[in-house]
């Protein structure tokens, strides 16, 4: 993987193993007043790492019923967002040629909309991706 190609909207990566392109969006990186309601990645989570998390989610097919991908790093031990977020979401892109993008999410802060489905969380626990404690915290909106 390289450092991505600069575009007006962000750094473009890919295509990855499944042919998907990924945009590390400036809107979720820069502290622009226009984007103050968007969640922001921690600077320690580099755009390349962000792309890596997306690729892991894509490879493992961590998807919900609407086609969104959900990601995490180190079993949720890595903090991904500036407000303590430990999960991230990659919303479904209806046009297959459009690049995907993603952002940190917090079920604790924003409830159901920021939480992956229970079945996916159970799959993560069963596969040893996250601990049972982390799984229950997501399901109980405490992560």
């Amino acid at each position: 993987m390289t450092g991505g190609t600069a575009t007006p909207a962000g750094l473009l990566f890919g295509p990855n193993h499944s042919g998907k392109k990924y945009l590390s969006s400036y809107a979720h990186r820069r502290n622009n007043p226009r984007d103050r309601h968007k969640s922001h990645w921690l600077p320690s989570v580099t755009p390349l790492m962000e792309f890596g998390i997306f690729c892991s989610a894509d490879r493992a097919s961590w998807r919900d019923g609407s086609g969104n991908y959900w990601g995490l790093h180190s079993g949720t031990r890595t903090i991904l967002g500036v407000r303590g977020e430990r999960l991230c979401k990659f919303p479904y892109t209806s046009n297959a040629t459009d690049p995907w993008h993603g952002f940190p999410v917090s079920p604790l802060e924003r409830g159901d909309n920021d939480a992956p489905p229970d079945t996916l969380v159970d799959d993560w626990v069963s596969a040893g991706v996250i601990s049972r404690v982390a799984g229950r915290k997501i399901q109980r909106r405490k992560l």
Partner: protein
């Protein structure tokens, strides 16, 4: 502050102390019930040098604040012996020998993939699950309580949290909303369970503020739902003496209470990370790592107001949940559980947990915290020895 810890290994989802019994929900959808009197007998046999601490801490917290206990502790020899036993226990992890400990095991017949919350009120167990809210009555008159009926489904929506008091029950169901039922025990109507009614569009949790219910559509946006109530002359809901007849007749956005922090301390609403309320207090944690306790006056008529405010240093990390105990506020953070007592944060447990429960309205377990962990249940009993240390030295 003394911490006495009892660990019970197992794959538990949650636990509750009620009427002298410990009820634990397991991963395989069973309820394990232990008589705490039996647990204390076993602890006394296993740790004879720690008597009477297990009994005072895990069975009869009410004795610690009784006039009889205070009177006995006036005797210097008694004070030294009792405080000595507490210090021998402090921060020690008590465990019951395997094989000594046989719970009553019952199936939890709740058809759910995920158990999200549990609570006991007026001998009825409420279980929040991904498939809805369920309840069933439990017989606590027998040795090791047993369910009296199969669960009744009360709502279809995924129930994150439930709260019950004054004969009413609430179910916080995330984006599906907040549902409530009043007179759930037929005190006024002499009918059975009443239908649940939606009173708010979004709810992550709710908490009582005296007779009113505070709904949190996010963990930082409290909305007070005012209630009406009548006196319960029959005493069927003891210790509650009133029955709520309607919830949500009027809603008040309590953000204005938080604005007092902006006016007095420059705290913006965006800076607030977590809010929690009890009957008379509101606790606010900020991203700037301050923790505020606001004394709240909630009159019968009119709007609540702040009558006092106190600032503490924050926890240094996010607060995920908070619960009141007799000796202070217990907060769950990302990686540990802390107690705010005597103006300082004391570590209760140095690991992440599945759930934190306290029992401030119980008679016998006001000082106990039940922590469900990855590998078992940790009961932590808290004892503030400060009022007695002078008696020991006099």
């Amino acid at each position: 502050m003394n911490f006495v810890k009892l660990f019970i290994p197992g794959n538990f989802e949650d636990a509750y102390l009620y009427k002298g019994q410990l009820l634990m929900l397991t991963e395989d959808r069973t309820i394990h019930v232990y008589e705490l009197e039996r647990v204390v007998e076993l602890l006394n046999a296993q740790y004879p040098d720690l008597r009477p601490v297990p009994e005072l801490m895990f069975l009869r917290n009410d004795w610690l604040v009784s006039s009889q206990f205070g009177s006995l502790m006036q005797n210097q020899d008694v004070a030294r012996a009792v405080l000595g036993a507490f210090r021998r226990c402090d921060k020690r992890l008590l465990e019951l020998n395997n094989g000594m400990f046989e719970p009553r095991v019952q199936n939890l017949e709740v058809p759910a993939r995920v158990l999200l919350d549990v609570m006991l009120y007026n001998d009825r167990m409420y279980v929040g699950a991904d498939t809805g809210l369920y309840d069933f009555d439990v017989d606590f008159r027998v040795y090791a309580a047993e369910a009296l009926s199969r669960p009744t489904k009360r709502s279809d929506a995924r129930c994150l949290q439930t709260a019950a008091r004054f004969g009413a029950v609430s179910a916080s169901c995330g984006d599906d909303g907040l549902f409530t039922a009043v007179d759930d025990f037929g005190v006024l109507s002499y009918e059975g369970r009443s239908e649940m009614r939606k009173v708010a569009d979004v709810s992550l949790k709710s908490a009582w503020m005296r007779h009113d219910l505070v709904n949190y559509s996010t963990f930082t946006t409290p909305l007070l739902l005012q209630s009406t109530y009548e006196r319960d002359y029959g005493g069927r809901l003891a210790p509650d003496r009133t029955v709520i007849t309607h919830i949500g007749s009027y809603g008040i956005d309590l953000s204005y209470l938080l604005q007092t922090l902006r006016d007095a301390r420059g705290v913006t609403l965006e800076d607030i990370q977590y809010v929690y309320n009890s009957d008379t207090m509101m606790f606010v944690h900020t991203w700037s790592e301050d923790f505020y306790s606001l004394g709240i006056r909630n009159p019968e008529r009119g709007e609540p107001s702040v009558h006092s405010a106190k600032t503490y240093k924050g926890t240094g990390t996010r607060i995920l949940s908070a619960a009141q105990s007799k000796v202070g506020v217990v907060v769950e953070t990302d990686n540990r559980v802390l107690l705010l007592a005597d103006d300082e944060w004391l570590p209760v447990e140095e690991s992440e947990v599945i759930s934190v429960r306290t029992f401030p309205r119980s008679r016998r377990f006001q000082n106990v915290v039940a922590l469900t962990k990855e590998d078992g249940l940790l009961l932590v009993a808290l004892f503030d020895e400060a009022p007695f240390t002078q008696l020991e030295k006099k």
